[in-house]
Subunit: 86 residues, 2 copies
């Protein structure tokens, strides 16, 4: 896919507009944006004094933490899968 | 684990210090912080005009996108796993 074929999607996250470009559908990107927005609002409700920048950084921290945990679960399942096939 | 038993870890992300508390080890949280820092710097190198807040929001967007993709892979593997066991 060339640069011209990329889909550009406008999304709103925590009151700010962002343009995201990629090969995914607009629906997928809206879903992703909505999840980031929700996470930022959750962290804000627990830490109302954080500014937007810190909220966004902590949202990224939280998300990468969850990604690593899922990756560990995935790797474990791949191992079990291999053993079952052998 | 009670609130008192939570581990508090000081991390540096994109030049700012954050305190993260959770049940994970300090090493895990340092790894997470380092990944967020790296992703923010990658996005900055492509979009040098973005401020810290936008960089962090786009880092979260990017990570949630990857999380959803991994979740789909995981779900597919679970399905294959079930079929193999039957």
């Amino acid at each position: 896919m060339t640069e011209n074929e990329k889909i550009r999607t406008m999304v709103m996250i925590y009151g700010e507009q962002y343009t995201i470009s990629g090969t995914e559908t607009t629906e997928h990107m809206q879903q992703v944006a909505s999840l980031v927005d929700t996470k930022m609002r959750e962290i804000h409700s627990v830490n109302p004094n954080l500014n937007t920048s810190s909220l966004a950084v902590l949202t990224a921290v939280n998300t990468i933490h969850e990604y690593i945990k899922l990756q560990e679960k995935y790797d474990k399942l791949v191992e079990e899968f291999k053993q079952l096939k052998d």
